[in-house]
Amino acid sequence: MIEAIGLTKRYDTHLALDGLDLLVKPGEVFALFGGNGAGKSTTINLFLGFVPPSGGRALVNGVDVAARPAEARRHLAYVAENVMLYGHVSARDNLKYFAELGGKRLSAAEADQALARVGLDASAFGRPVRLLSKGMRQKCGLAIAFAKGAPALFLDEPFSGLDPLAATELQASIAALKADGRAILMSTHDLFRARALADAVGIMRKGRMVRRFAGEELAHVDLEKVYLETMAGDAVAAPGPA
């Protein structure tokens, strides 16, 4: 479970995140939209414990990240926009390494199983990561998250720069993790795939979540239109129901 309660981050005079409230339950995907500087990355950095909050709380599986960062990190996994692992080391060894950092020692067979689970071709398991395509590396990132078995998953622009086929495959992998009961918070610009995956979406602007859609409302709203209006500053800056 991922939860933010009045989460705020201020850098000197700049308010990067302003009282964010959200809840992502197990088996749910929450998609964050917004332009550059909207607060998406700040939100993820706060959940990862990379920056301390100025106010409010970030909880991962009920653990306050600021109070107990090491404990919180046991319950989360993170996939970057551009997964760059140790390029000269194989996908398998990278996965085993990061799994061990997460507290799990995997055999080669278990590592292969995790890589296969996210749809990576078996021929890529033993190849140096620098020789893999971006889509394959993103899958490696997801496999690391999967192998860790963390209940909370943070994806930072996972579809960025992927070709349609790779993006579709990655989408299927994320859907599998969702079906596995993980709570997933994802920042993205891909409205199409977000709609396909997410149970709720939020549009952020200048550190605030100004629009939020879930359930039936999400199924029927024209996300692209609302997003463009919000970014242009035309939308009413009032949060909708979670």
Partner: protein, 455 residues
Amino acid sequence: MAHLAVVRMELADALRQPRTLIVGLVALVFFLVAFVQGAARVNAEIAAVAAAQAENRQAWLAQPPQNPHGAAHFAVLLAKPQAPLASLVAGAEGALAGHVFTDAHRLIPAAGSQAADLPIGQAIGSLDAAFVIGAVLPLLAVLAGADLVAGEKERGTLRLVFANPVGRRRWLAAKLAGRTLVFLAVVGLAAAIAWLLSGGLPIGDPARLLAFTGLSALYLAGWLAVGALCSVAAQRVASAALAAVALWIGLVIVVPRVIATVAELGDPMPATSPARMATRVEEVRLRRKQAALVKALKARGALKDASPTTAAEGPAEVRDAIDAEAARARAKADAPAEAWRASQLRKLDALGYASPAALYFRAAAGLAGTDGDRHADFLAQAFAWRKAFLARLNALEDRKVAEFKDYDAIAPFTFVEASAAEVWSRQAPRTAALLGLLLAAVLAAFWRFHRYDLR
């Protein structure tokens, strides 16, 4: 468990990195050149000394007077054996005399000077193993360190690492340990291969070699830690590398030069001619005094020989008086130069702590035995030998030198090396300073990394 995984990954990654190969090749080439040159230098010196000794032996056997008086006049060559690690560290040997000629009149000519034992001038002048380790490899070490954290930041692996329950200090410690291990292993392997390729460099003393290796490892680990400090102070590898190279230039090239300049400021080297002139004057005065003494002794019938002219003959009190006066006169004549040398050494010792390279070069020369301290030991032992030699000739009285069948039995000079404990104790402050530098760089890196921006 996690930090062992970090070390293992560092090793696995390094084994596949092209930069590891580059470091190894650069080290191999430099070591090879240094070893070949070191072996050639040492072999040439050994051959030169052997030739001089053979010539001296022949000359001794063929000396015309064939009596103790003549033998006292005759110069005997005392050779300083090659330092235990002379092939690895040229040190100040190039500026110090490798041998002395001694006879009744001259105490220790061609003595050389400890003032030539400068911290870096000697080292830079000779492409030996100490130069490779002291000046070349630090550049590779700081660059290896500069990539340590900033490289992970650029690759994006840093965020992925710390999305796990991994402590910053433990991770940095494991990472630094892994990289240091790899760097030292690669450099050590390159040195071993170069040693084999060079045909096996003569290594005189395994204990000193071990100490030299330990000192070098400590020194290079310190430079890697300095690179790591640059790495945690920057967000990008290029910035970290730039800072690291600037530090290398400063501490290896600029600061030692500044040290040498500052040491001489307001304390110029005294002209040698006044001292020499003074010595000459004293020698003439002594000869006259000696002749007067001899004349007086002859008049009293105290001397058996009809024409003694040296202090090597006559009653012991006369010899001792002349010896003592000669020593006083020379000490007085050499006092300005000696005072300057002592002052320079004190300054260089103190200022040397401003540069790890200067510290390393002096400590390495000390361990190798190519420094002024060992030379001073040699001069002291040569002086003691001369006294014993003259005493023996005096005891021979009228016997002919030709009766000595074996020149080697007359002039056996064996230099006694300082004990390992003594050598270590001489270099302990410098080694401690290098260890302090390593610890300071590591602690500063830890302190800075605790506040490192992971965003």
